[in-house]
């Protein structure tokens, strides 16, 4: 397939995943903001969320004070914010529009209808829109598109690129979501284990649609170490770093089979998988959770770049 087509498919799903993550972050912030305003309160939480998106400075330049309604607008509607739900969905739709020939009509339909619905949301009175409605809509939309891809797309190279986009982006996003907790915990490590902290961890799990799954997997008691394990190393949780890395490996292997040719991308993916498969939580905490996550974000980005170089530019021979 054309390298540019592959690139559009890869980025289409990356943007879709990113838009979903922003919605999940918004949900998490919203839930945390329902907490009583103690010990630094919700402002701290919102700024951590903006920080995790690398968008705190951009936000304050445009809106000034961290007011919740503005943050909601910034994260959901603001097209100047490249990782807002609206901006990501628009970018995903633009990528999809360019490669419509590579999508089934159901997939295009799902993406295009979502975009039309987004435009309808944009036209509505902001005060009539509560965050839960926006985030529910985002997650439903994401599931609809994902479902259309799963049930209708041919299992050809295009399908592999779409899934690579999802998995690479998801790994990045999980790492960032978890990293937000790092920022929240930073000012006072003493909060670990306290009521407030539990609530914030719960909000994180809820935002990842993993609240009940966690309870099933770990018996219900919240602990920072177990949650970190869940989100990083548990292969059963579909958003864990290890799961994402397994996905990337599987789809790169498929590509190597389809093209009958292996590239440095497969090598890089296997290396990252090797590390995650061997890792233990103790080691991660020894390295420092934040340091580990930052390193994962950067290695994952390197892997994405490698996929880019090998398949998406058409320069590799």
């Amino acid at each position: 397939m054309l390298s540019r087509t592959a690139a559009n498919l890869f980025w289409m799903t990356r943007y879709l995943e990113r838009s979903e993550t922003t919605a999940r972050l918004l949900d998490m912030g919203f839930r945390n903001a329902l907490l009583p305003n103690t010990g630094g309160g919700f402002r701290n939480e919102w700024s951590a969320i903006l920080q995790s998106k690398g968008a705190l400075q951009e936000f304050t330049e445009k809106y000034g004070e961290l007011k919740q309604r503005n943050i909601e607008t910034f994260l959901f509607f603001d097209l100047d914010n490249p990782s807002s739900v609206a901006a990501c969905l628009r970018a995903a739709r633009e990528n999809a529009r360019i490669v419509r020939t590579a999508l089934t009509s159901q997939v295009w339909d799902a993406i295009n209808v979502s975009y039309q619905e987004l435009k309808a949301l944009q036209r509505r009175e902001r005060s009539s829109l509560e965050v839960p409605e926006l985030t529910d809509w985002s997650l439903r939309t994401a599931a609809l598109i994902r479902g259309a891809i799963e049930t209708t797309q041919l299992r050809n190279d295009g399908y592999q690129f779409m899934n690579l986009g999802y998995a690479v982006e998801r790994a990045d996003n999980t790492a960032r979501l978890l990293d937000v907790k790092y920022y929240v915990l930073l000012p006072s490590v003493a909060y670990i284990g306290s009521g407030l902290d539990n609530y914030q961890w719960t909000a994180l799990l809820r935002a990842l649609s993993a609240h009940r799954a966690y309870s099933w997997a770990y018996g219900g008691e919240l602990s920072a170490a177990q949650i970190a394990h869940f989100l990083i190393l548990n292969p059963k949780f579909p958003r864990s770093l290890l799961s994402c890395c397994l996905e990337v490996n599987a789809h790169l292997d498929q590509l190597a089979r389809i093209y009958d040719r292996s590239t440095p991308a497969q090598e890089a993916a296997r290396k990252l998988l090797g590390e995650l498969a061997e890792a233990r939580m103790d080691d991660i905490f020894d390295e420092g959770l934040h340091e580990f996550l930052s390193r994962m974000i950067s290695e994952n980005a390197g892997l994405g770049q490698c996929i880019q170089d090998q398949y998406l530019t058409g320069d590799a021979r």
Binding site: L2, S3, R97, I98, R100, T101, N112, Q116, Y259, T313
Partner: protein, 494 residues
């Protein structure tokens, strides 16, 4: 660019002197002729009369929803506004009888053959010029004449593979060719989608009426393009569609056609030249390209040969083309047959190359380069449509009867300054078709663009794009000025 501009303001319909048309209705109504309902439209009249108005509104909304969902939108160049604007779709079909179509088909194919013969000739020996049937200057000094391909004969001698011939009707048997689109005529996706939407919404209409299908257009187009693969191509030709990119207003059409044909939709950046061939960048490395169906103009094809600032094309492409490594459709240089001054000679081409009498008439045209014609135009300018020879898209033209005195005077001054830059045509009495309006149906003016394919064979699907001026009395079918589209039916032979 090969954009889907609803070409030209249609010449105004005014009864020409000497034509017997009553003042009451100077326009031919394709459904209700002077002697009543034409039998062709009998079933459609029943259909319309039995349709409750709520049902109609429902269907109209359904149609719009379908178009929006398919993503069939159309941005107008330089117009700004909503990039996802829909072209208004009128549900009332336009119908041609089998015998009407037979004549049109013969006329269109004849014209397509003549235009190709002309192009082969003027890039070769120029027999028609030696014979004194067309002035040499008009061809060789034409801006669109491509010196870079003089002496080159494309595969099968075909220059112009997709010919869009714009037709207007003024009476039961009276059709005129308004212009020949020899570059990259657009709009065919609307022909296909309009039918798709109509069949989905009103299946019983197609059970009752024997409407000839148009859906094999893409297959025919693919076959046409493959038939002109270069001789150097030894396997199944790799055909691609070259688009200026997703910001182009006709991008939807490009992607739609590529999909139907099952070929890659490429941009200039996806192609490169190496050795004697053109290649595309794929996830598996370079892949050779044999036929390029381009939807960009000559000037942008190759920055080394044409406009050096073009980023849409492929550097070195013309060298590959001229050494027979790749076929470009339509061939570079075909634009010269698109010219409005050349247009006036198409009937002459039919006689010269084919030895036949032209089946389709041109709109009578005065060439202001000729002193006698210029004199007539200057005396009657308020009654005429005056166009720039190289203009398109309805720009740089004067519609006498619809213009005020000052506009006419300004234009007359420009005309006097450079007469050879202009042609003039009478204002025609364009036919009307019933069209849905607020409270029922009403006649609205229409034109027609069928798409003729020229390769090893000449093919024409029974149908085309009907554009309709939705505003009462308006002759402007341009989509930016309230123009819409209709499904166009040809009733199959018994």
């Amino acid at each position: 660019m090969g954009i889907f501009t609803f070409q030209s303001l249609l010449p105004l319909m005014r009864a020409r002197q000497g034509e017997a048309q009553t003042m009451a209705d100077p326009f031919f109504n394709e459904m209700y002729a002077q002697d009543g309902l034409r039998p062709l439209y009998q079933r459609l009249e029943n259909w319309y009369q039995n349709m409750p108005s709520e049902f109609r509104a429902l269907k109209q909304a359904e149609a719009e929803d379908l178009f929006r969902r398919y993503g069939i939108t159309f941005a107008v160049y330089g117009e700004g506004g909503d990039p996802d604007r829909l072209i208004p779709f009128d549900m009332f079909p336009r119908v041609f009888a089998a015998d009407e179509w037979r004549r049109l088909e013969r006329g269109i194919k004849q014209r397509a053959r003549a235009l190709n013969a002309f192009l082969s000739d003027v890039y070769d020996r120029g027999e028609i010029i030696r014979a004194g049937r067309i002035p040499a200057d008009l061809v060789y000094r034409n801006e669109a004449y491509e010196v870079a391909v003089a002496g080159f004969r494309p595969p099968l001698g075909v220059f112009n593979h997709i010919v869009g011939i714009d037709l207007v009707r003024t009476g039961p048997d009276q059709f005129y060719v308004l212009e020949d689109n020899c570059r990259t005529p657009s709009g065919v996706s609307y022909m296909l989608e309009n039918r798709e939407v109509m069949m989905r919404m009103f299946p019983h209409l197609f059970q009752e009426n024997r409407v000839a299908p148009v859906d094999n257009y893409a297959r025919l187009l693919k076959r046409t393009l493959a038939s002109v693969a270069p001789q150097k191509c030894e396997r199944d030709p790799n055909v691609v569609l070259l688009t200026p990119g997703h910001f182009n207003s006709a991008y939807y059409e490009h992607s739609f056609l590529a999909d139907l044909m099952g070929i890659e939709l490429v941009e200039g950046q996806d192609l490169f030249v190496e050795g004697d061939f053109c290649w595309m960048r794929t996830t598996e490395g370079p892949k050779k390209v044999d036929v390029i169906y381009r939807r960009i103009d000559d000037a942008f094809l190759d920055p080394l040969c044409f406009r050096p600032d073009s980023t849409l094309g492929v550097p070195g492409l013309m060298n590959v083309y001229r050494s027979g490594g790749v076929t470009i459709c339509s061939a570079p240089g075909a634009e010269v047959a698109d010219d409005k001054a050349i247009y006036t000679y198409v009937p002459e081409m039919v006689r010269f190359y084919l030895g036949e009498a032209p089946i389709l008439e041109n709109v009578p045209t005065w060439q202001c380069a000729k002193p006698d014609d210029l004199k007539y135009v200057q005396e009657n300018i308020a009654e005429l449509v005056v166009k720039e020879v190289h203009g398109s898209g309805g720009y740089g033209m004067l519609v006498g009867p619809k213009s005020d005195k000052a506009t006419i005077e300004t234009f007359a001054a420009k005309l006097a300054e450079n007469p050879s830059n202009y042609i003039a045509q009478p204002t025609l009495a364009l036919s009307t078709c019933p069209t849905f309006v607020e409270d029922g149906i009403a006649p609205r003016h229409v034109d027609l663009r069928p798409y003729c394919l020229v390769g090893r064979d000449i093919e024409l699907v029974p149908g085309g794009l009907t554009r309709v001026a939705l505003t009462e009395g308006s002759l402007v079918v341009n989509s930016s000025q309230g123009g819409g589209v209709k499904d166009t039916w040809v009733i199959a032979e018994e």
